[in-house]
Symmetry: C2
Subunit: 415 residues, 2 copies
């Protein structure tokens, strides 16, 4: 019987304590968290994460973009095994999205240290600085992109916040030098396993606490704008208007209906709308809107985007409106490493944790990490499938089950 | 031949000077104006209007809500004849909407004084403080409602700005006492004639400078809100979402299409949209939106609103969303006084100004003033039918033609 078959013990009270303490930084209302990258709340959260790693006996390193690493040194000199997720949130999100993966990694590494002693490969827990694009709409996995060397030299000046500042300015405000970003690049990570809440209802519907993730869907975000002719809402007959809101409404319906008709797992969301000038008595001049469209199959994804772009062009042309769009984010589907998927499936069985295997409909840092390491993910059941809201919730029981699979997986990879 | 048949002379250079000087208060870019009620720009504009009335030899009175009146005293002691429009603007609007009617009244009364001497009835020019609801969405003709005694005692605390302050607070900031609003009520106005830009394309399509307005359309503004379940844009399958943006898009399309199918003169506009939380990666929790729907026929107006409300209920029910709405503004159609309409038609012919007769698709202070006086309106051709935008424009030639009809009309009513 391999050593990983030993049942790993995780203290539920300690798990809950760390989740709740981390959630206090940027707390909104009873259960919400609003913690954007490089904000004062974010600084406090990263300090807490570093302190908690230190208390667990891990070596702490903060890299050039503000990712926090806690390391349990291995003896073999081989590449390391890492786990973690992002510490930033939506505005507001909840306690679990991202944060849980950073906490789970820390607690799993702590448990390995306490229950198995020093590993062969170095094992690392990481809190990535940014994943949500909730402050900078095209930050685009800032933390894990830095680790994989995928931040281009001009990016710090090109990544602009909703409120106008550059990410370079935001970095300098918290004492980070954008010129040093290349120092964050790693080439010594063998494997990366990310634990995350599911953010969907599939595990709940299946009655299972945990999933092993075999692929991450492909994502594209468009920033689109449809323009017409601003006018008085009363004095201008309907038949000669060029109303961009009418065009927007038809396009938004069409995009959403298209994803419905393509069927699972295609999803398309219009989540952000800005009408200009946005007054009741004025036919608008323009409507800006976002499109988030995803599919885990590369070819099906391309067809979905073609349908969306054709629809926008057709509606705008027919209505005498102007439409244009930019691709803000674009990620190909990212399959997990089959060997790590097998390992996680095996150790879940050994740890007596019921699981299923599924694809992720959300994007994750793992798909960036796949550029430099073998990757896979573990999902924990979400109540009502909810996330990106203060209402997101996973039970401590399910979380402990997920951390036990994670710790056993890291053990199998590093000892 | 009645005295009103004398050709009235209006100096185009003076008209242009006053329009441009007034437009400097709240100027935005080359041709825009952003001047909300009780703002610093508004205070400066009312000071300018009062000063210009004084320079024209009129007696100036500022009432309890900040309306500015310039009076040419009559000899008979009978009720007065008044003209004017509002001095506030959209954000930004242009130089002409409202402002032109205040300026035209001033210049018409000045011309009557200079060319005909003292009248029998007092003739008054007025700049109403507020009509656009561009700062307070339910201010609802604040200036002319004060004059007609239609502001309820609790209104100053109930009328709330888009940015949260009450109109009572805004009044106090410019030295006006909300408790004194009842003092602004007038019961000594016999007739009210308002000159305004058309704000639509009908005069331009007919090739005419001026219209006599025989009715004002009925208007309703709804504030509506459709709510669903906020969620992650990637991990939640389309078929089990309760996406309020999908419901909003179908409703907005449906409302606009309904007004199209009813046909002229029905109009429906969705001009204001607020998505919560408004991020690309989040299925929204709710969409707030405005509906502006108008028809000059009372029964047709009711049918239009029934269709709109039925549509909203049907879409929300079918999609498992919640919808509710409040009527923010509701005005019955307001026919002009037939005798004043006939008088204006006659004097337009006498002044050799080509004109047509039409209904107004926009709401105006006149429909409030109809509660205490006989009313009618004069429209001046709008370039491209545009208004509520810095691009709105009427030529000085057309404006002078309109002021000549106005002055001749006031002469016929007051001398």
């Amino acid at each position: 019987m391999p050593s990983s078959a030993k049942l790993i013990e995780i203290d539920p009270a300690f798990v809950e304590k760390v989740i709740m303490e981390l959630a206090s930084f940027g707390a909104v209302g009873a259960t919400g968290v609003s913690r954007t990258v490089y904000s004062p709340e974010w600084v406090a959260a990263t300090d807490y994460y570093a302190r908690t790693c230190e208390e667990a006996g891990l070596d702490v390193h903060r890299d050039a973009v503000g990712n926090v690493w806690g390391r349990l040194r291995g003896s073999s000199g081989e590449k390391s095994v890492a786990s973690g997720s992002h510490i930033d949130s939506q505005t507001p999100g909840g306690r679990y999205d991202g944060a849980l993966g950073a906490v789970a990694a820390l607690i799993a590494v702590k448990a390995l240290k306490e229950q198995f002693g020093p590993p062969k490969r170095t094992v690392e827990a990481v809190a990535f600085c940014e994943e949500e694009s909730s402050r900078f709409p095209n930050a685009n996995y800032w933390g894990s992109r830095a680790v994989t060397g995928r931040i281009a030299p001009g990016d710090p000046e090109r990544v602009i916040a909703f409120s106008g500042e550059t990410i370079a300015e935001a970095m300098r405000e918290v004492g980070l030098d954008p010129a040093r970003i290349p120092d964050a690049k790693r080439d010594d990570i063998d494997s990366f396993v990310e634990l995350h809440i599911e953010q969907g209802p599939i595990l709940e519907q299946a009655g299972l606490p945990v999933a092993v993730v075999d692929a991450i869907t492909g994502i594209r975000h468009y920033g689109a704008r449809i323009s017409g002719v601003q006018n008085h809402a009363g004095a201008f007959p309907m038949d000669i208007r060029h109303d961009p809101l009418a065009g927007f409404a038809e396009i938004a319906s069409g995009l959403i209906n298209t994803a419905h008709r393509v069927g699972r797992p295609a999803v398309t969301t219009v989540g952000r709308v800005l009408v200009e000038p946005n007054f009741p008595g004025i036919i608008p001049a323009s409507v800006e809107f976002s499109i988030d469209a995803r599919h885990p199959d590369a070819a099906a994804r391309r067809r979905l985007y073609e349908m969306h772009e054709n629809l926008m062009r057709e509606v705008a042309d027919r209505r005498g409106l102007e439409v244009d769009w930019r691709v803000m984010i674009d990620h190909e589907p990212s399959p997990s490493n089959p060997e790590i998927v097998s390992t996680l499936q095996r150790v879940a069985s050994e740890q007596a944790v019921p699981y299923m295997t599924m694809a992720s409909g959300a994007g994750h840092d793992s798909q960036q990490m796949a550029a430099i390491a073998k990757v896979a993910m573990i999902f924990v059941r979400s109540k009502d499938g909810r996330s990106h809201t203060p209402d997101e919730f996973s039970s401590i029981e399910d979380i402990v089950a997920g951390i036990r699979v994670l710790a056993a997986g890291l053990h199998a990879l590093a000892y």
